[in-house]
């Protein structure tokens, strides 16, 4: 069966779609009340975020737009130090979308939400005319918003980075970007898979073990280069990273060399970078390595007092013995990878 405009009319077809596809997968005590809004228990300090997902193709090696839409928002909550609690999910479906495909994506969302310990408590569905190009299949866009609870003591942010902080990356970079590119270019390579994953465990363990975490970011669109530029700019510190320490799988390294992609700007969906007080750095790496999705964690650099006062820069120490300033990504990298 394919989605038609009547599935977005708000009438009988809409109810049926909600029953069969969404409620079936997402049901929980709050959503099941089916009121105009969900009433949920709260906390005195909340983290809020929202993100829209437009990735093409909808299903790729290692994941799909459903898993991505949960991971992306959950990880954004985690990076502010919050414990993710609730998500909302908005679907914009293109007329003609196969319902079987939609079910598969929704199921993947439900599974990922379970893994990440969040409940989807509100949702919305709209149907629009198929606006894709001449050859595109009908697709969908997902928006998720998230709420997380923040402990009174937790305080993280790029402006809190101090001199001497260790910069830790939770694993290999470029996997998601390469996985999407390989699908779009029809290049077969079994070794390249998206890393999309919720990072709850490593973040929770860092805080539970009292690690002094100053800043965290998930290394998504724009890649390591862009994210670490935010660190250096907002902290006013120079961030040095060492090229030889950057963890990249052989498959992704070869793939990016072939296509002329710069590893530093390739997006990920299951990796974080954090700045941790120097005294805790080895313990922090151990903790991340012993968490799900953190097996390849490594210290890639450190924060230092800036050469030019007030102007933090990101500086790469290259393998051949040079140094260069790494700027943020200019212009469009690759559209629609998330």
């Amino acid at each position: 069966m394919n989605i038609t405009l009547s599935h977005g009319s708000g009438g009988d077809a809409t109810s049926k779609l909600i029953e069969e596809v969404f409620r079936n997968e997402f049901h929980n005590e709050y959503l099941d009340r089916m009121e105009d809004s969900s009433v949920v228990p709260g906390s005195s300090r909340l983290a809020l975020t929202t993100d829209s997902f437009v990735v093409q193709p909808l299903i790729y090696d290692g994941g799909d737009i459903g898993r991505l839409s949960v991971c992306g928002t959950v990880n954004d909550l985690l990076m502010s130090g919050a414990e993710p609690k609730y998500l909302t999910a908005g679907f914009v479906l293109e007329e003609g979308l196969d319902t079987g495909l939609l079910k598969r994506i929704v199921h993947s969302m439900a599974e990922t939400a379970k893994e990440a310990g969040v409940r989807i408590v509100a949702g919305d569905t709209k149907v629009i005319e198929h606006k894709g190009g001449k050859d595109d299949d009908p697709g969908l866009i997902i928006n998720t918003a998230g709420v997380g609870f923040l402990d009174e003591k937790v305080n993280v942010g790029a402006s809190l980075i101090k001199e001497g902080d260790a910069v830790i990356l939770s694993g290999n970079i470029g996997d998601h970007h390469a996985a999407i590119m390989k699908e779009r270019l029809s290049i077969s390579n079994e070794k390249i898979k998206s890393d999309n994953a919720p990072l709850n465990e490593m973040v929770r363990k860092l805080f539970d073990n009292g690690i002094e975490v100053h800043a965290m970011r998930d290394v998504t669109r724009g890649g390591l280069g862009t994210v670490l530029n935010e660190f250096s700019k907002e902290s006013g510190r120079d961030i040095f990273i060492i090229e030889e320490k950057l963890p990249v799988s052989d498959a992704v390294r070869d793939f990016s060399a072939l296509l002329g992609l710069d590893i530093l700007y390739m997006g990920n969906e299951g990796k974080m970078i954090c700045a941790v007080a120097a005294k805790d750095k080895d313990k922090a790496v151990d903790i991340i390595r012993n968490s799900k999705y953190g097996g390849d964690a490594v210290i890639i650099g450190y924060a230092a007092s800036p050469v030019t006062a007030g102007e933090g820069k990101l500086i790469l120490k290259t393998g051949i013995g040079g140094e260069r300033i790494v700027g943020p990504l200019y212009g469009e990298g690759l559209p629609r990878i998330c």
């Binding site: 270019l185 790469l316 290259t318 140094e323 260069r324």
Partner: protein, 339 residues
């Protein structure tokens, strides 16, 4: 000598000043990426040459593509970098935002597939490049003929390296030859040029180690008109005969206009007359209206530095480029800006 010793030599070099040109944009990008300029002695100056296809494309090429995209029967296909290059009245990216069907592709063969499925539109590829990319366009035309796809065209801005290297000539003390181009053409082509201008040339790969070895060799060979091949895994004296054959089957040399430099005799490639049905009017594109003040052409011929340009970093930045050298990831100004 080990790579470490070479790096030490290049750091501490205290002999007469040398200006060396890396002709190819991929070398420019690799030099910046590996931070080589950060340790070179002040007596060694690296100049980014004209080997960035986007950087040497004239404005009338962009203008023609935009004009063609205005016809709803046409679909324009291009590599990504070209989309942001300013023509005399805006860029392809702006035309796309205005609703024209302009698609970014990673391979011209994707266009062939799309065109074969769609009998209603003409598909036109913005075929920029050098000797390296030209055989790809030749095989595109060959596939179109074999598969009987008649609704594709190419608008070409294909340049060849030897004439422009001759033009720059002895202004440089040595040349890092374009590795990929030499893979196709062979390095033998450059031997008479090196001898003629009395300057050394080295064909090299794109890893940082390959590049420092080549720079070291060029410093040592100063004043000698010879060619060395440091990239034997890919480059031979004769080049790739198969690629040369398909190139010669479909293309012939002709005069070509280089952005900001004017026309150079026999420095371009055009579809032969018998394949002109696949050409979208490439031979007429000689007009060039570079933005006022833009010094791109002087930068890529080694006469000026990016930072000498009055626009550089002020009104011309990667986010709002005025000249092509600031657009391309292989461009001299882009790489100077992000350095």
């Amino acid at each position: 000598m080990t790579d470490k010793e070479i790096v030490e030599f290049l750091k501490n070099y205290n002999g007469p000043d040398v200006s060396l040109m890396e002709i190819c944009g991929s070398h420019t990008a690799a030099i910046v990426k590996s931070g080589i300029r950060s340790f070179l002695s002040p007596h060694i100056r690296m100049v980014s040459g004209p080997g960035c296809p986007v950087c040497v494309t004239v404005t009338s090429f962009i203008d023609r593509l935009i004009a063609l995209s205005g016809n709803p029967e046409n679909v324009i296909c291009s590599f990504g970098d070209l989309l942001r290059v300013p023509g005399s009245r805006g860029s392809l990216e702006e035309a796309r935002a205005g609703g024209n069907d302009i698609r970014m592709l990673y391979s011209p063969f994707d266009m062939l597939e799309q065109a074969a499925k769609d009998g209603l539109h003409n598909y036109i590829f913005a075929a920029v490049g050098f000797e390296t990319t030209a055989p790809v366009y030749a095989s595109l035309i060959e596939s179109a003929i074999e598969n009987d796809v008649s609704n594709i065209r190419i608008l070409t801005s294909i340049k060849t390296m030897p004439e422009v290297v001759k033009k720059i000539g002895s202004k440089m003390d040595g040349y890092l030859l374009p590795g990929h181009v030499c893979t196709i053409t062979g390095y033998g082509l450059y031997e008479p040029i090196a001898a003629g201008i009395g300057r050394p040339m080295v064909a090299a790969g794109f890893e940082a180690e390959n590049i420092v070895q080549a720079i070291y060799a060029l410093v040592k060979l100063k004043g000698k008109g010879i060619v060395k091949n440091f990239y034997p895994s890919a480059v031979t004296e004769e080049g790739n005969k198969k690629a040369q054959r398909i190139l010669q089957k479909y293309f012939e040399p002709g005069d070509a206009a280089w952005r900001g430099m004017g026309s150079l005799a026999a420095s371009g490639l055009y579809l032969k007359d018998e394949y002109s049905r696949f050409d979208a009017g490439s031979r007429e594109l000689t007009e060039d209206q570079v933005s006022g003040g833009c010094r791109c052409a002087y930068v890529i011929t080694g006469e000026e530095e990016s930072r000498d340009c009055p626009l550089f970093g002020k009104v011309c930045t990667p986010l709002d480029p005025k000249g092509a050298c600031m657009v391309s990831r292989e461009g001299a100004c882009f790489n100077e800006y992000i350095k």
